[in-house]
Symmetry: C2
């Protein structure tokens, strides 16, 4: 496992990387050179699929952001501005959100142009611009914004026999009653003190998570239950990755039987293509899809009046998935997606409740697991 | 306070109410009468504003759901079906979601019509129909679906010096590290063992909650931090209500300075007009709006380039709010909303980061609280 392990990093490590980047720029200036940054290209053209590690990665292409290049000067200024904002936040013990950084850096620059006219320019106009620079800094330093203590919305929650330390607190996630532990923005800051589970069960839907928690499924079946409430946020993905990577736990994903559910699985497993650079730390290449599959609809004889006709966007999404390398290379996934495209039918996980409220937890999941009926 | 207190109810209490309803029906049949249910009308026409309790309530109108009335027979069947599903779930220790109940009850009824023709009818076609029957059962019995152990999506999280018991677990919400306690679907099942706080601070945005938590704001300022992540779910609202009602804690709500933020405050405070019947248990009539207000935009001299032009839907929403009794009767709210309609400008809470990342927590909130500058 050691080759795929990504070390957890502290905020101080991130600060050092930011300072080193800034030092390079200063040295260039002191040497009388125009300062320039090298940033790996984040566009689709430079995202490559690594079949050995089963991960999306950034390719070798780098762009040179040269201060003295008119086309790059604005981006250069933005990058250095963001660099200084983040470094200052770390030094002063602040934990800004990405939106805080947008406002903290937004101001109007006034300058006199070559015709002696006063001109005004915003440091950035939209948060899209400041977010993009944060991403550049992430790929240039190799640290996630989470490592830098930049906060964002979090959706994930977790229960099970796992004891963690966060700051001075020791949290036992098997003692949350009917509630759960809300996963913090930076899961790397968590120290896993003990873990007593055989696998991780990732559940698409929050309400289903609540039901399995209420039934204490995690206790009876010795697992860690996690939900990212639909499309998962970065923190949930990182938490799942850590459990798989550092503790060798198999990871199973449970969603509706529809292309949106399959896509959610895909994000846990391999990341999103447009944010390929995150996958090295956030994706879980070993994640397995437990269900519901397209064939489940017919194998479990889901009543016809429970079946939902696929929409245009489901069909479109299924065709996209067939082009992703991690689906294309899996004979079973191709079979599932082609069956979906043929039948154009989908089913929600709650449809299993037609067989009784306990069917999901007492039959479906245990049977699938013991028969090894998951898809990779 | 005792007059506004609503007793917490157990699942067994809810079951008794369901059984009593069913017993009435059986007795009607045994007496040779056509069975009929009386259900309070949930439409807008029967939602009234109680100025003394500052709450939306259902008015006195009831509808009679008569099995032998052709126009009501289907709804009657649906209500009795749902009643039996919920009662069975409680007896068998199941915790279905509202969607589980939809599927568990959905089936095709075959019958021979008066022309001797085989006809088929679905018990319900959409989840909207089964959800509507659940709401009827809530108002007919006076119990929330949460009391019946019916689960749903939950969004809320909480930190601060509050120790609660949930089942056999004792949870100290001041020991969650950078994470938080994810509020369970039925907050009434929580026993509050101890509480050491001066007020509740409800935060609209999850990322801002994470920042205040990271700064341990709740510890320095002796408060309970809660977020419902935008438009709050029922569980978050019920938790806030309990802290206000049972522990006399003042409740302050912090949102963006825009009509959507004001509306979120309104939902915590008085509930939504279309679900007026929930307010008696879920609303917090004493909730105060701390900010950001429209006047804050000008009082705090928010830079012009941080101000966002209001959209059509913001203006529409502001006009709606001006018609809500709890806004209309507040001179200060009328002033704020009229100023908004005049200027048509809004601002996000993160805009305060233009004055430094600590401005919100070290200046804005403490100053507003100590000067009593909230709106009711």
């Amino acid at each position: 496992m050691s080759d795929k392990r990504v070390t957890r990093a502290s905020r101080e490590d991130a600060l050092k990387a930011l300072e080193s980047l800034a030092r390079q720029l200063t040295e260039q200036v002191l040497r009388g050179e125009g300062p320039a940054l090298e940033v790996p290209v984040r566009t689709l053209a430079n995202v490559i699929w690594d079949p050995r590690e089963r991960l999306l990665k950034l390719g070798p292409k780098k762009l040179r952001r040269d201060f003295l290049d008119m086309g790059e000067a604005r981006k250069f200024m933005q990058t250095v501005l963001m660099l200084s904002l983040i470094a200052r936040a770390i030094r002063e013990g602040d934990y800004p959100t990405i939106r805080d950084l947008y406002y903290a850096g937004k101001h109007t620059i006034e300058y006199i142009d070559e015709y002696n006219k006063l001109r005004r320019e915003e440091t950035w106009d939209t948060q899209k611009e400041s977010d993009s620079v944060i991403q550049d800094i992430e790929v240039a330093t190799g640290f996630l914004r989470e490592h830098m203590g930049i906060l964002h919305d979090t959706k994930g929650k977790m229960v099970g026999k796992i004891v963690i330390r966060s700051g001075n607190d020791v949290i036992d996630c098997s003692k949350m009653g009917d509630g759960a532990y809300s996963i913090p923005p930076n899961p790397d800051s968590l120290e896993i003190l003990s873990l007593d589970a055989d696998y991780v069960l990732v559940i698409e839907k929050d309400a289903i998570f609540n039901r399995l928690n209420k039934e204490r499924f995690w206790e009876k079946h010795r697992c860690i239950l996690i939900t990212g409430k639909g499309q998962p946020d970065r923190s949930t993905r990182r938490m799942v990755r850590r459990l798989w990577e550092e503790h060798d736990l198999p990871v199973y994903v449970l969603t509706d039987a529809d292309p949106y559910g399959f896509y959610i699985y895909s994000v846990y497993r391999s990341g999103s293509i447009t944010l390929g650079y995150e996958s090295e730390r956030l994706a879980t290449p070993g994640a397995r899809f437990l269900g519901l599959t397209v064939t489940d609809i017919y194998d479990y004889k889901i009543p016809r009046n429970f079946i939902i006709k696929a929409k245009e966007r489901d069909v479109k999404r299924a065709k996209e998935l067939l082009n992703y390398p991690w689906f294309k290379q899996s004979k079973e996934w191709v079979r599932q997606l082609e069956l979906f495209l043929e039948k154009q039918e989908k089913v929600e996980i709650e449809a299993l409740s037609g067989y009784g409220f306990k069917f999901l937890t007492e039959r479906y999941i245990p049977e699938k697991l013991s028969a090894g009926k998951w898809i990779e």
